[in-house]
């Protein structure tokens, strides 16, 4: 497999490392950061030898790739032109862009245009990752397979922010003053977790349900005392992380509820409950690493994307399970 990487930040570099472990060939790496343009990716990754590929700003360097992994930003409006440039080169693309996992919600016009362009160029584009993309959407959908009629899906992911990389810690505002935090969240300077609604819509879309209402909410979790967790020192009253949820309603009933908790010292697990008309099943995990999980999901999809039909696809287009809700 010959892979190109668009966005050579922390996720792009992890993609490169893991692709090399698979024995795949990296044919190009694109970034806009002047500090790394022109550098050999082997040097950046700390390999013993040069790899023979330098970071470039020119997307045409990816022309020989069987697939490109795109990992730059969470919002489709910011990355639309980047992905379009890959489509126009005729390269199948898997992106970690969270809002691309269900782009018809926040960016319906861009989504339709991107689908059209992908079809025109015979290219497959798919947004995925660990969350959104797998743990709170694809996997809950798969777990409805043993249910004839589903009443409700509840899924939760909880992770210990002290075990995550620095950019994640910054994204969720650890150490900030709560008011300053809420302001930053409102102004979009902080994002917290992106993708609650996308996961809700992925499930609803697989089930063929038109939801009456989708809600998203996110709030800081505050230290109730001075704490030292891992490398982090936080004072009482400061932010130690976030919790949030996305919900989907049908006929005034909450039928989908997805929660995400990420704070210093949180227990690590996923929990998925499917409630059917006759029985319910709860699955609980020991916790899935976030970044490595995202990279693995992306590489696993990259591995098969050349066989998929062209267009802007969703994870739910490629899994054969459709929760059957009765309404």
């Amino acid at each position: 497999m010959r892979i190109g990487i668009y966005g050579f930040g922390s996720i792009g570099r992890l993609v490169a490392r893991e692709a090399v472990k698979r024995g795949w060939e990296i044919v190009g790496a694109i970034d806009i950061d002047e500090k790394i343009i022109g550098k050999d990716i082997g040097e950046i990754l700390g390999f013993e030898e040069k790899y023979g590929v330098v970071v470039s700003r020119d997307v045409e360097e990816l022309i020989d790739a069987d697939v490109v992994v795109h990992a730059t930003s969470s919002y489709l409006d910011k990355v639309y032109d980047q992905i379009l440039s890959l489509v126009r080169l005729g390269i199948d693309t898997v992106s970690t862009c969270e809002t691309l996992s269900y782009p018809y919600y926040r960016y319906p016009v861009l989504a339709r245009k991107l689908n059209e362009e992908a079809l025109r160029y015979g290219v497959t584009v798919l947004g995925t990752g660990i969350n959104p993309g797998f743990l709170l959407d694809t996997l809950p959908i798969v777990l409805t397979a043993p249910f004839n009629i589903v009443e409700k899906i509840v899924a939760k992911r909880s992770l210990d922010a002290s075990k995550r990389r620095k950019s994640f810690v910054e994204k969720i505002g650890i150490g900030m003053d709560p008011e300053e935090y809420m302001k930053a969240l409102r102004e979009g300077k902080l994002t917290g977790h992106v993708g609650y609604a996308e996961s809700v819509y992925l499930i609803a879309d697989a089930a063929g349900i038109h939801l009456d209402k989708v809600e998203e909410r996110q709030e800081p979790i505050i230290a109730d005392k001075d704490m030292i967790i891992g490398e982090f020192k936080v004072r009482k009253g400061e932010v130690i992380g976030i919790k949030g949820y996305g919900t989907g309603y049908k006929n005034r009933k909450e039928i989908i509820r997805l929660e995400f908790h990420a704070y210093l010292g949180a227990k690590e697990y996923e929990e998925i409950m499917v409630i059917g008309t006759d029985y319910e099943v709860r699955w609980r995990s020991t916790g899935t690493p976030g970044d490595q999980g995202t990279v693995a999901v992306v590489l696993n999809i990259a591995n098969i994307i050349n066989d998929l039909s062209p267009g802007l696809l969703l994870m739910t287009d490629i899994i054969p399970f459709k929760p059957f809700f009765k309404h």
Copy 2:
């Protein structure tokens, strides 16, 4: 959806009930049991009114079905002609036949012929159910999505036989003398669980791995004292259920291990562990009902089978995940 049912025994009847709950139409029901042929299926199912379909021995009664659910026996050689008759009518078929979930292992000649016939008639045939079909094969494969490189997959299902239907209890020999039990197992008079190797092969096939060796073993579990569990009275020394496993080896290492325990009073759960090169994740459930689970998996696949490509398909042909093992 217009559904036909081939085999109106306990599973076929449950299929009928659950299909009706979905609002699907049952267009025909086939069986060889003289006691039910000619009877209205509504009567057999205990509905308040006749349904308007009588059990027939003539497969052509299913001609109007969009899909047929086939539920008669565990062994492909016994049901091959039944499935072929459906294929020749041009009807997509989902079967609960355990060995059809990976027929290339026990019945390679029949599997290839069935695939050829399905392609000739433009029909899709797929064997699935809760186990084999989902819990110990499809689901573990899906759970490898967050792993870049997989080292080993271990999955176990444990169920309380006292909560299962009579025919299952007979199949696993509860109350028998252990020696008599082993003899019956050897002679094929008792089957226990069918499908250990099929699940192992489904995983290996998804991963594209040629296994060096596949093992299956099954043995009785013996009461260590007189017991009363639910409606069951068992004396010390009698069989209270079975345990068994299927394993797959590559380069002399066990890389797939699937266990199944079913005995009176057993705890009910599934547990799936994926061991990657850098981390492992264990998922554990509160337990999935067997018969209802099988029926649900089958109906969920029946719901989409008209959209699949023709041929004899496997569950692994329709899920987009392929565990990446390094060897």
